[in-house]
Amino acid sequence: MEFAIISTLNGVTYGLLLFMVSAGLTLIFGMMGVLNFAHASFYMLGAYIAYAVSSIFGFWVGIAVAPIIVGLIGMAVERFLLPRVHAHGHAHELLLTFGLALIIEELIKLFFGDFPVNYQMPGGMRFSAFSIFGADYPFYRIFIGGVAAVMFTALWVLLTRTRTGIVVRAAERLPAMAEALGHNIPMVFMFVFGTGAALAGLAGAVAGAFYPTNPNMGIELGVIVFVVVVVGGLGSLKGSLVASLLIGLFSSFAVGLDWSLASLMGLVGLGDWARSLGGLMTLKLSSISATIPFALMLIVLLVRPAGLMGERN
C-alpha cells in the first residue's frame, strides 16, 4: 500500500511536469501543423533566462519575465524563419527547428558555461508539504503540479470557451475562410507559436529550479516530450495530459518492481531455468525504467497510429 501511494504521488507529479513542457508543443502542432524540434530548447532557454533575471530581481520576477522573453523569441522564429521553409513542407520545418535547437544549445554554453548553473528555488519554498510514511514530500513538487494543472485549465478554456479560441481554431481548419472574414491569419499563427514557446519557457523557469539547469536539459527532456505528444495524439491537449500521466506513473511504478522475465517464468515453474540462462531473462524492470515510455509509444503506435486521442487524418 505504501509503495502504491508513494509511487502514484511521484508518478502524477512527474507526469504533470511532462505535461507542462509538452503542452506548448501540442498547441503549436495542433493549431499550426509545425513540428517544432526546438521546443525543448525553449524550455531550457526559459530556465536560463529565469536564472539570469532571478539572480538580480528575485525568483518571482524571473518566473514572470522568462516566459515573456521566450515567447517573443518564439514569435520572431515564426515570423522570420519558418515562412522561408514553409512551402517545402514538414521535413524542412523540422530540419530548421532542429538546427535552431543546436544553435540555442551552443549559445547557452557560450554565455553560461558548460556546467550546471546555480538556479535555486527561494528558501521560503524549500519545505516539505507533508510527511508520508516517514519521508518528507517536497512542497515544490506540488507547486510544479499545480502550475501544470492551471496551465491545462487555462488553455482548455481559452481554446474552447472564448472568442479568441474560435478564431484560432478557425485559422487552423479553414485559413482562407477565416482570412476572408477579416482575421489576420499570419498574426494569429505568430501568437499561437509565441504562446507555445512561452509555455515552454514557463515550464523551464519553474522546473529549472527543481531539476538542475544545465546545457543538456533540453536534449534530455526533448525526446521524452516528443514521446508524450506522439502517444497522446499529435495536437490533442487532452491526449497529452493523459499520455504524460501514463508515462509518469509507468516509470514511477517500474522502479519499485524488480520484475524480470525470469520471475514471470517462475509463475509456471520455469524460474530457476530462466535464471540460469541469465542475460535478457534476468534483466530487471527497474534497470530499464527510462525505456518504458518508448515501449509505450511503440505499442500505442501499433494499436492506434493516431495516438490515444489524436484525430485520424
Binding site: 511536469l17 516539505s128 509518469g248 516509470s251 511504478f253 530487471k284 527497474s286
Partner: protein, 410 residues
C-alpha cells in the same frame, strides 16, 4: 617522361629538406568537446594542454616543441573512431582521452588494430578517465595506459576511510548506472562487504542520464533504510539523486566517485554536507604548491579531473626525458617502454605503471563535504576536506585474469 623526372627530383629535394628538421612529438586529444559531455571533456583537454606547456617550457622533445591538437569526438564512439583515423593521418604519436569508458573502449581497440597493421608507426593511448575494468581486463593491451583509479580502488578506499571515521554504518545501498562503470561499482561494493563489515541491503542499476525524476528510487532507498548509499553516478544522475534524497529528508551518507564535478555542490546545496567522495586528486589533500602553479598558468585552481590528468602528463614528461632519438625518427614503442618504468612523484604520493595490465598504481584521496573548507567549490561556502589518503600499494587490486597482454618484441 622528363616532367616526371623533374617532379621526382623536386619531391626528393622537398623530402630531404624536411628531414633536416627534427620530428616533433605529436599529441592528439580526442575528447568530447561538443554535445552533452562537453563540461568534462573540456577539463581533460585543459589539463593535457597545461601538461604539454610544461614539457615545452622545459625545452620540448627531440629538439622541437611538442605539438598538441584537439579532436572533437562529439561524445560518441563512432565520431571518436573517425577522429582517431584523422589523428593518425596527421601523424599523431600519443592520444589522450578521458570522458566516457565507451569511447575509451572504442579507442583502445582502434589503437590495438592500428598498431598491429602499422608496425613502426605505433600510437600510444593514455586513458585519463575511462574507469571500466575491461580496459585493463579483457581489452588490455600494451599501448594502453590508464592514469586513473578504478571502481574497486575507489570503493575500498572509501570503505576503509568511512569505517575509521565511523560514518559507514552496517547497512549499505548500492545504486548505479547500468553500463560497464556502474556494474563495476556494484560489483566492487558487493565485494567489499566482508572487509567493511556491512551488508548490502539492496542494489539497483538504472538507465544512464535518462532519468529526470529520482523520487521513485528514493522511495526504494527509504524502504531499505540504509546508513550509506554507494553510487558511481555522475553528472545529472548524481545531482538529481542527491537532491531527491535531500528533498525527502532521508538521513543517509552518500559515498560517491564524482561529487566534485563542477556545479554539483552549488546545485545540491546543504544536502551535500557530510557526503563522501573517493577520487584521484583533491587540492585540500596537498600542500597547495601544485594548485598554485596550475592557477598561475590557467587562471583557476585545478578542478574535477584536471589535477590527476596533469599528473599523467608529468609522468609522460619524465618518461620522455629518459629516451633520446637525437632529432631523428620517434620510436613510440620506446616511449611506451620508458613510461612503463616511470614512477612519478605527485604531491599525494608516487604513481607507477603496473606492467601486467598498465593500470597505474596510484594514491586515492577520500574527502568529505564540509563548510568553510580551504578550497571552496562552485563559489559556495562548502567544499572538500581530506579524510584519508590511501597509498597506491594499499589501494591497488590484483591483476584481472582476463588480461592477456602481448608485449612488443625487443
Amino acid at each position: 617522361m622528363r616532367r616526371i623526372v623533374i617532379i621526382a627530383a623536386m619531391s626528393a629535394t622537398a623530402l630531404s629538406t624536411t628531414a633536416l628538421h627534427a620530428e616533433p612529438l605529436k599529441i592528439g586529444i580526442i575528447e568530447s568537446l561538443s554535445g552533452a559531455q562537453t563540461s568534462t571533456g573540456r577539463l581533460y583537454a585543459n589539463a593535457v594542454k597545461y601538461g604539454v606547456e610544461r614539457i615545452n617550457e622545459a625545452g620540448g622533445f627531440n629538439g622541437e616543441p611538442v605539438v598538441v591538437t584537439e579532436y572533437d569526438n562529439a561524445g560518441g564512439a563512432p565520431d571518436a573512431a573517425d577522429k582517431f583515423r584523422k589523428a593518425v593521418a596527421d601523424g599523431v604519436d600519443i592520444i589522450f582521452q578521458g570522458a566516457s569508458s565507451a569511447i575509451a573502449g572504442q579507442l583502445t581497440e582502434d589503437v590495438r588494430k592500428h598498431n598491429i597493421r602499422n608496425p613502426g608507426k605505433e600510437v600510444i593511448f593514455i586513458n585519463l578517465g575511462g574507469d571500466a575494468m575491461e580496459l585493463t581486463g579483457q581489452k588490455c593491451q600494451f599501448y594502453h595506459f590508464r592514469y586513473t583509479a578504478t571502481a574497486p580502488m575507489r570503493v575500498n578506499a572509501m570503505v576503509s576511510a568511512m569505517k575509521e571515521a565511523g560514518d559507514l554504518g552496517t547497512k549499505v545501498y548500492s545504486i548505479n548506472q547500468n553500463y560497464s562503470w556502474g556494474q563495476d561499482m556494484q560489483a566492487a561494493v558487493a565485494a567489499g562487504a566482508q572487509a567493511g563489515g556491512y551488508k548490502v541491503v539492496d542494489e539497483v542499476l538504472h538507465d544512464v542520464n535518462k532519468i529526470q525524476d529520482f523520487a521513485p528510487f528514493v522511495a526504494r532507498i527509504k524502504s531499505a533504510a540504509p546508513d550509506t548509499v554507494f553510487t558511481g553516478n555522475w553528472s545529472n544522475d548524481l545531482l538529481l539523486l542527491m537532491k531527491a534524497v535531500g528533498d525527502a529528508g532521508l538521513d543517509v551518507t552518500f559515498a560517491t566517485a564524482f561529487l566534485d564535478q563542477p556545479g554539483n555542490i552549488a546545485n545540491a546545496g546543504k544536502t551535500a554536507l557530510g557526503h563522501y567522495i573517493a577520487n584521484n586528486y583533491d587540492n585540500a589533500a596537498t600542500d597547495g604548491k601544485f594548485a598554485e602553479t596550475y592557477k598561475k598558468a590557467t587562471g583557476h585552481y585545478p578542478i574535477f579531473v584536471e589535477g590527476h590528468s596533469a599528473f599523467a602528463l608529468g609522468a609522460l614528461q619524465q618518461a620522455l626525458s629518459k629516451v633520446n632519438f637525437g632529432g631523428g625518427d620517434i620510436n613510440v614503442t620506446k616511449i611506451a617502454l620508458a613510461l612503463e618504468n616511470t614512477t612519478y612523484e605527485t604531491p599525494l604520493g608516487p604513481i607507477s605503471v603496473r606492467k601486467e595490465d598498465h593500470q597505474t598504481i596510484r594514491p586515492v584521496v577520500v574527502s568529505k563535504v564540509v563548510k568553510n573548507p580551504k578550497y571552496p567549490a562552485d563559489g559556495t561556502d562548502m567544499g572538500f576536506e581530506t579524510v584519508k589518503i590511501i597509498a597506491g600499494d594499499k589501494a591497488i587490486y590484483p591483476v584481472q585474469d582476463s588480461c592477456r597482454m602481448e608485449r612488443p618484441k625487443e
